[in-house]
């Protein structure tokens, strides 16, 4: 069984650390959601694990493979996938071209097979849109391209940074269903999310990050039922209520 292990991780950008000693373990088939107010260090934690920000100390491991000194191609080969917060798609490239770039670390034949396999996922939507430039896609389709692009390299651990940001409630439901699907396939998923109630409903466990430290940790269902999580999200107290109200609108037509 796949396991992502983060031990006492410190991440920064040359000055003070923004993530201060985070330790987490996520097993395959499990969704762990990271909550926290703005500038709590959530995205920096993701970037530190992905190898995009400097880890000043601590360790990241996928099973027995230590990622600390591995450059990003090595991390991808070790089974790590990353979907950035703003989706970070490539202007002017088609859906197919995004998936082909996702196969960057694979051999040509394996890459082709994996791109074809990912095109068949999500009801074949990426295959149908293969020649469409990303400028012509909806927000939800763009998110599927970003997730599909990361899935081409067959990750065992997937980091999703705010996958529902800027999406309508109906599309949020679709994205969360995709996360459920990936969990069912045995991926270990580390998800940063602002949409607290939705995230907790789909996660197995959750942690709250405050100033780069874990201040609350527990079973997602219990935290969802426990109103005290609002106190831990400090600046997000209002947002918990707001997102709960948003969720009531889920399922409405786009």
């Amino acid at each position: 069984m796949t396991e992502l292990r983060i031990q006492d991780l410190h991440v920064g950008y040359g000055g003070d650390d923004i993530v201060n000693g985070v330790s987490l373990t996520i097993a395959g088939g499990e969704v762990l959601v990271v909550l926290g107010h703005n500038a709590a260090g959530k995205s920096t934690l993701m970037k530190g694990v992905a190898g995009l920000a400097t880890c000043t100390s601590g360790s990241v491991q996928i099973d027995e493979v230590v990622l600390d000194r591995l450059p990003t191609p090595g991390r991808v080969r070790a089974g790590l996938g990353y979907v950035p917060a703003d989706r970070a798609l490539f202007n002017g490239l088609t859906v197919r071209e995004h998936l082909v770039i996702g196969a960057y670390t694979l051999g040509r034949r394996e890459g082709r097979a994996r791109v074809a396999a990912v095109e068949q996922r999500f009801g074949g939507v990426l295959g149908r849109l293969r020649n469409t430039s990303i400028q012509g896609l909806s927000g939800g389709q763009k998110q599927l391209v970003a997730i599909g692009r990361a899935l081409v390299a067959s990750p065992r651990v997937l980091l999703l940074d705010e996958p529902t940001i800027g999406l309508s409630p109906a599309v949020v439901t679709e994205v969360m269903a995709t996360i459920d699907e990936l969990r069912a396939e045995g991926l270990a998923l580390l998800v940063v999310e602002q949409n607290v109630a939705t995230a907790l409903r789909h996660a197995d466990r959750a942690v709250v990050l405050t100033h780069g430290r874990i201040t609350l940790e527990g079973d997602a269902a219990k935290l969802l039922a426990d109103d005290s999580i609002g106190a831990h999200l400090v600046a997000d107290g209002d947002r918990v209520e707001a997102t709960r109200n948003d969720d009531e609108a889920e399922g409405e037509p786009r």
């Binding site: 490539f90 002017g92 071209e97 960057y104």
Partner: protein, 325 residues
């Protein structure tokens, strides 16, 4: 690429080479020299657009990159090296000069990189003028052996026109293929979302080194042709003004466009000729450059290359309005 476009591309290439071969035999000396200069600058502008347009690196030292190759070629030919060997030296030197700029490009972007490359350009000019033992200082280096073509019975200017024309056609085709293929997609990925590209396993260092080396090598080919045309190299041809002119010409011609690069070359070669024909002072060049860029950014932000599309859209809109009224 489908079969039809492949065949049309082959047919166009053959036609272009035939036209160049015919022009080689019929054009008078002055036109041949101007043509060689144009072909050389098509190659140089392709290289500059690869960095500036496709890789989004603001490099204001294109003339210096070319200068490395030109001096290398001149010195190698005068030292007795065969032409092909001297050309390889030029390509290698321009490539190395360009790669030196890849390292600051790893940490700096936009205006900060532009300033560093500008400093590099000034340093090159300083060395070219000051290191007299190698560069001949302000007097430059004459390469008298280039007045004779290596092909018996052929005039040197016809030889260089033919070689420059064929190389320009081949490089236009090669670059077109390159930027539309995996390399172009990789550059687009690193330009638009470098973090996402890195997370997929792309290493910015490798890509920048390869892109700068390739662009430098292409410039080196242009450098050889420029020296071949005049049999002379001097610091005056590789100044900061020339770097600025190349960059502005690319903005005016069309950024990240092969056709835009060809248009840029026409501007680089044609603008001084036009000023000369109009009897205007060469000192007016910076003023014309400034006005051109302002007008272009106001009316054609995507360069002259976007003009047909813009006119087409306007015409379609006008027709639709007529039809609806």
């Amino acid at each position: 690429m489908n079969i039809l476009s492949r065949w049309s591309s082959v047919a166009l290439t053959v036609a272009a080479v035939v036209v160049i071969a015919i022009l080689t035999t019929v054009l008078p000396g002055f036109r041949l020299s101007l043509g060689t200069q144009l072909f050389a600058y098509i190659i140089i502008c392709l290289s500059a657009n690869l960095l500036f347009g496709y890789a989004d690196e603001i490099v204001l030292a294109q003339a210096a990159i070319v200068g490395f190759g030109s001096y290398g070629f001149a010195v190698a030919v005068n030292a007795g090296a065969p032409l092909v060997m001297a050309a390889l030296v030029a390509i290698a030197l321009s490539s190395v000069g360009s790669v030196l700029l890849a390292f600051p490009a790893l940490r700096l972007q936009g205006l900060f990189l532009a300033i560093i490359t500008l400093a590099f350009q000034f340093a090159f000019s300083g060395i070219a003028e000051g290191w007299r033992a190698v560069t001949g200082g302000l007097n430059g280096i004459a390469v008298n052996s280039l007045f004779t073509a290596p092909v018996p019975g052929m005039e040197a200017e016809r030889f260089w026109f033919l070689v420059a024309g064929i190389l320009a056609v081949l490089l236009v085709l090669a670059l077109r293929r390159l930027v539309r293929g995996p390399f172009g997609r990789g550059l687009a990925a690193l330009r638009d979302a470098p973090e996402a590209a890195a997370a997929l396993g792309m290493r910015a260092l490798h890509w920048k080194l390869v892109t700068f080396a390739l662009a430098g090598g292409i410039s080196g080919i242009g450098a050889v042709l420029l020296v071949g045309r005049t049999a002379y190299v001097s610091p005056g041809s590789y100044t900061v003004q020339q770097s600025m002119l190349i960059t502005v010409a690319i903005i005016v011609g069309g950024v990240a466009s092969i056709t835009g690069s060809v248009l840029a070359a026409i501007i680089v070669v044609g603008l001084p000729e036009l000023l000369f024909a109009l009897g205007a002072s060469a000192e007016l060049t910076p003023v014309i450059i400034a006005l051109t860029i302002v007008v272009c950014l106001r009316f054609l932000p995507r360069g002259i290359v976007s003009l047909p599309g813009l006119v087409g859209r306007r015409l379609r809109r006008a027709r639709a309005k007529e039809a609806s009224s």
